[in-house]
């Protein structure tokens, strides 16, 4: 229903607004005094309000980093919880400035949806969770199983692909939200629940008996999760993209929340450029030159955000794997700031 309302809002907005939606997001955000960030709302580790109502998570930190860069204040963000179904419409219609909600970058989303994906903040893949009692040790043993899945996700499509290419039959039960799908799995409506494996770790912990459920070893797809912005506003896309890159570069240079003040006095030219001691790189993005300093000071580097939210400092205990820096055998690679 929310989707319907939003689609109508989109139609109305499109029918009324005549100005082209480009090159104005940053100005609009600055004028408004806060960033509006589309987030998950129910996914532990990535985007969820804690019992006190403070939003936390890996995707949430990314929006806080953008707010820190613009306002020098990571709290100037309004988070809008979105379901997988509603998320693109919310971004297209301008309800949110940036979508940071564990969203897979695909060609059709990048082109025909009128969106721009900026950078892969998390390399993920789709996995399956089953009950231990089922005595299944591989996804290839799931022939004939009922699988619960969330609607409007790449998971929904990969699931059909995977079973087809392995000549297995399945019964898909589709729900509008991940919560409903998980609840149906827990009640025994399905044998398995499938989503991005990062999500499986978080959602397993929400079950009544996490230890009675296991995540199968197969990763059946590539899920490069990326924040997205509206197509056509390159300045805003650059800002969002470099927010990610600068957090990677900071980790690579060993700059973190604790030592960033001391690093201001560093002699290292790369560190000096990154922190805005030298050059006008921040102004080129439409920000102040200490933009990166603000991000590191308030939010931390990529590794800090990862470990705090989903890594060893969190209940999820996801290993860095593909998300390690390129210098440590991973895929995360920040282009140089110069």
């Amino acid at each position: 229903m929310k989707c319907l309302a939003m689609a109508i809002a989109l139609t109305t907005a499109l029918a009324c607004a005549t100005q082209p939606a480009s090159a104005q997001t940053l100005a609009a955000v600055k004028a408004r005094g806060e960033l509006i960030c589309g987030a998950n709302g129910t996914l532990a580790g990535f985007g969820m309000p804690d019992p006190q109502g403070n939003w936390t998570g890996f995707d949430v930190d990314f929006c806080r980093a953008i707010a820190a860069a613009i306002f020098n204040d990571p709290t100037k963000v309004k988070f809008v919880p979105l379901t997988a179904k509603d998320r693109f419409t919310a971004l297209q219609s301008g309800e949110v400035d940036v979508l940071s909600r564990n969203t897979t970058w695909t060609l059709s989303r990048d082109t025909s949806l009128g969106l721009d994906f900026v950078a892969v903040t998390f390399y993920d893949g789709q996995g399956f969770m089953v009950r231990k009692a089922l005595k299944v040790s591989s996804a290839l043993e799931l022939n004939g199983a009922a699988v619960c899945v969330q609607q409007g996700t790449t998971s929904e499509l990969n699931l059909a692909d995977y079973f087809r290419s392995n000549h297995m039959s399945l019964k898909t039960v589709t729900f509008a939200t991940g919560e409903e799908a998980l609840k149906a799995y827990e009640s025994g409506r399905c044998d398995s629940y499938t989503t991005d494996s990062s999500g499986l770790y978080g959602e397993r912990l929400e079950l009544a008996e996490p230890s009675q459920n296991i995540v199968l070893p197969e990763i059946i797809s590539k899920e490069p999760l990326s924040p997205a912005v509206r197509h056509g506003d390159n300045q805003w896309a650059d800002l969002v993209r470099w927010t990610h890159f600068v957090m990677l570069d900071a980790e690579e240079l060993g700059i973190n929340q604790g030592n960033v003040d001391a690093k201001l006095k560093s002699d290292d030219p790369e560190t000096r450029r990154l922190l805005g001691v030298e050059g006008q790189y921040g102004e080129a993005l439409g920000l102040t030159n200490d933009w990166a300093y603000r991000i590191i000071k308030h939010v931390g580097n990529y590794g800090e955000s990862f470990e705090r939210n989903v890594g060893q400092g969190s209940p999820l205990k996801i290993v860095r794997g593909l998300n390690a820096l390129w210098t440590k055998g991973g895929l995360q690679y920040g282009p140089p700031i110069r």
Partner: protein, 391 residues
């Protein structure tokens, strides 16, 4: 009786100003609609969002849990998914309307019963059901009732080979041998002859006033004849029983819990409103009619069937139509429990995968509009056919 509107003579001076005003209104509405339409198209192009129905024949790629027509994620198109969703909506709406009507009439008449307990029970049903939001009732049926069924490995075996668990009700699937056609032919012939017999009996009664008992011969023709052919053809009907597979029940006819919950919620809810419509209709029939029927010696059941209900129907049909339309539109709440209706499949998965919100939502709304208008039209035809003929 519908209110009579006296036709005004066309061409009168007052009429002319009215027509000009109406033309002006149509022009204004038309230009606003055109402006909105072209603006949407222009802005979609600006925002680089694809538009049009070019996606219609592309491969859908997602599975649907209940399909009345053949559908496969790997080869079927978005267009096919649309039809699957539409048929699922029509299925739940059609069965829902039938059940709600039966239940509604029963409850409505029960509420007028002289039996104190029956009338109070019917009253309690109406008050309880129509005052609780439908969405909550739907979630109640789905989460509280159906989820309480046994899990798949503790399934209940039903007499006759059915299996019941929290993944659905699995019934034996009838499988027809080719010779089963002869049974159908016999059934058809039996029905035709029975109808001829009935008209013969009616003519004879009109001519001579004698009642001709045709119940047993008719039953013999409709039931007995096909049964004899069925036996002669060597029992051309078998049932494939559902059985337990590794994970799920396989084989048989599957009734999804999502479908059952939606059907229950829609029929139980709408029946409460229909009951009130029926009660109002029956009360609207002048008491003199019942008294006259009693004076003629009709029993109370016959009075209800032959005198009261036919007259009450004229009052009942218009508000009943509204209830049917409500039921059809309320079926879109399916999205809350994952029943694959039009909204869930088309305005859900298809919208999200293609991202073409404007086209998908517009088409979905048009479909509901068409279904509702068609329902209203059929009911109006019925109402006109049963209207009082003034002499």
């Amino acid at each position: 009786m519908p209110p009579q509107i006296l036709p005004r003579r066309a061409g009168s001076p007052r009429r002319f100003g009215g027509i000009a005003l109406q033309i002006a209104l149509v022009v204004v509405i038309g230009s606003v609609a055109y402006g909105a339409f072209s603006n949407v198209a222009e802005n979609l192009a600006h925002a680089h969002i694809a538009s049009g129905f070019g996606f219609w024949n592309n491969t859908a790629g997602f599975d649907i849990s209940q399909t009345l027509i053949p559908y496969s994620a790997s080869i079927s198109s978005f267009g096919r998914a649309f039809w699957v969703g539409l048929l699922n909506t029509l299925l739940v709406a059609a069965i829902g309307i039938a059940l709600a009507t039966l239940l509604g009439f029963a409850v409505g008449i029960a509420r007028l019963s002289r039996n104190w307990l029956l009338a109070r029970l019917a009253g309690g049903y109406v008050e309880l059901i129509r005052n609780v939001p439908l969405l909550l009732q739907l979630l109640f049926w789905y989460n509280a009732v159906l989820k309480a069924l046994p899990v798949v490995h503790g399934s209940l075996a039903l007499p006759g080979g059915g299996i019941l668990n929290n993944r659905g009700l699995f019934l034996p699937r009838p499988e027809f041998a080719p010779t089963f056609g002869a049974v159908l032919v016999a059934l058809l012939a039996g029905i035709i002859v029975a109808i001829a017999l009935q008209s013969l009996a009616r003519r004879r009664r009109a001519r001579t006033g004698e009642e001709m008992q045709i119940l047993w011969p008719a039953l013999g023709l409709i039931v007995g004849l096909p049964l004899v052919v069925f036996i002669l053809a060597g029992f051309p009907l078998t049932f494939s029983l559902p059985r337990m597979g590794r994970f799920n029940v396989v084989g048989g006819v599957e009734i999804l819990p999502e479908f059952a919950a939606l059907l229950l919620a829609l029929s139980v809810y709408t029946a409460a409103f229909i009951a009130e419509v029926v009660r109002a209709g029956v009360l609207a029939v002048a008491p003199g009619q019942t008294e006259a029927a009693a004076a003629l010696g009709l029993r109370s059941g016959m009075t209800l069937r032959l005198v009261v209900l036919p007259q009450a129907m004229r009052v009942i049909v218009p508000p009943l139509t509204s209830q049917y339309l409500n039921l059809i539109k309320n079926s879109s709440l399916a999205v809350a429990i994952g029943y694959p209706d039009l909204v869930q499949v088309f305005a859900g998965s298809v919208l999200n995968i293609t991202g073409q919100a404007v086209e998908v939502i517009a088409l979905t709304m048009a479909v509901y509009l068409a279904i509702s208008l068609f329902t209203a039209l059929s009911m109006n035809v019925y109402a006109r056919a049963t209207a009082v003929v003034e002499r």
